[in-house]
């Protein structure tokens, strides 16, 4: 029975015409709309900053988009400078309850100048500064006096919303001793 049905269904199957063409015009319309939307949002997001995974950024009503600069990312567990993990915090003895309630602090060996300066961050910042100054010295772009353009010294700070000012202050102090004089605090843009 099934054999007969199969033959019948094969016979009844509608044959496609030889010159069958898929209607692509509507698909083109959709794709053009998507491309226009993406181009519109692409042009407004020229900065290379993106929220680091696992980081809860605070929300800000500021309208200033951050321009290109060096960036330090501070999570409750570690610190990253230009995508390179430079130090890990240590869990304090009072936070055995679990990772949710854990409190982290600097290792004593990571600090100097009476606990104000973060040594690994200072080293990384100085290295980045030397590199930037070398590039500026080699660049043909000069100031009106013919000297290489001065080092801008801008540092973007992206920190988890629970990070305390004590840590931020140490970062700012360290950056200032390395010649970075302007700080940009990054946050998520408030909707609306």
């Amino acid at each position: 029975m099934s054999f007969h049905r199969s033959i019948r269904s094969r016979r009844n199957r509608r044959k496609l015409p030889g010159s069958f063409e898929l209607q692509l015009t509507s698909m083109m319309d959709v794709l053009v709309i998507i491309v226009v939307f993406l181009l519109k949002s692409y042009s407004t997001s020229t900065s290379s900053f993106a929220a680091a995974p696992g980081l809860q950024l605070p929300i800000s009503g500021s309208l200033d988009s951050p321009t290109e600069s060096l960036q330090v990312i501070v999570t409750p567990e570690s610190m990253t400078f230009e995508n390179e993990r430079i130090l890990d915090f240590v869990m304090t003895s009072g936070s055995i309850g679990g990772p949710e309630t854990a409190v982290y602090k600097f290792k004593a060996t990571d600090l100097d100048e009476g606990g104000r300066r973060i040594v690994p961050l200072y080293d990384a910042l100085m290295k980045a500064r030397d590199k930037a100054e070398l590039l500026r010295a080699k660049s043909k772009t000069r100031d009106p006096e013919g000297k290489p353009l001065p080092f801008e010294g801008i540092l973007a700070i992206q920190a988890d919303k629970q990070i305390q000012y004590e840590t931020i202050r140490k970062i700012m102090y360290t950056a200032a001793t390395a010649g970075y004089k302007v700080f940009r605090f990054l946050a998520m843009k408030r909707d609306g």
């Binding site: 993406l38 692409y42 009503g61 000012y165 202050r169 200032a176």
Partner: protein, 181 residues
């Protein structure tokens, strides 16, 4: 021999179909690239310079007694004050959650701005345990004027016209970067 007029008109014209497949290929590639590179999370920034002092300038400024508007956070309250006593010091208690009352601070700063419309700088002195979230919220309330705020005008020296103030105190400086407080 000439053809008959009826046969001359019978030139077979097949409809021309535009080949859209290469266009679609290009579009799909472009969309893939853009989706991969575009970040839909909008990041904004708040800029703050490291405080520095020039001796000559400082001496000159000290003679004029600058406003040097300062917001100091304490354990239980926030204080808005001027080291040169240009304004009456005001203490604003924290919210029941123990956080600085950013709305009340904003309202107090609005009244200071009405007195000193040309002032753009403000010094913030947070405590060591102030979180980054609170810092950003405070800086927002210190820097920006919201649409619900009463309008503040300042005289433009060049034109002599009153102009609407669009920012409260946009230059935020941290006052205790070198200290231990």
């Amino acid at each position: 021999m000439l053809k008959r007029p009826s046969s001359r008109r019978k030139t077979s014209k097949e409809p021309i179909a535009l080949n859209l497949v290469p266009f679609i290929d290009a579009m799909v590639t472009l969309i893939g690239f853009m989706l991969f590179t575009t970040s839909f999370l909008a990041i904004v920034s708040i800029e703050s310079p490291f405080p520095h002092a020039s001796t000559a300038l400082t001496e000159e400024k000290l003679k004029q007694k600058p406003l040097q508007l300062t917001v100091s956070l304490h354990e239980n309250d926030s204080e808005i004050w001027s080291p040169f006593e240009r304004i009456t010091s005001k203490k604003i208690p924290h919210t029941p959650e123990g956080q600085p009352d950013t709305k009340a601070i904003h309202e107090a700063l609005l009244s200071v701005k009405q007195q000193f419309p040309d002032e753009t700088k403000i010094v913030i002195v947070p405590t060591a345990n102030t979180t980054y979230d609170v810092m950003i919220s405070l800086m927002d309330n210190m820097r920006m004027v919201t649409p619900t705020d009463p309008p503040i005008f300042k005289r433009n020296a060049a034109t002599g016209n009153d102009e609407l103030v669009k920012a409260l105190f946009p230059e935020v400086i941290f006052g205790n970067l070198l200290g231990d407080s």
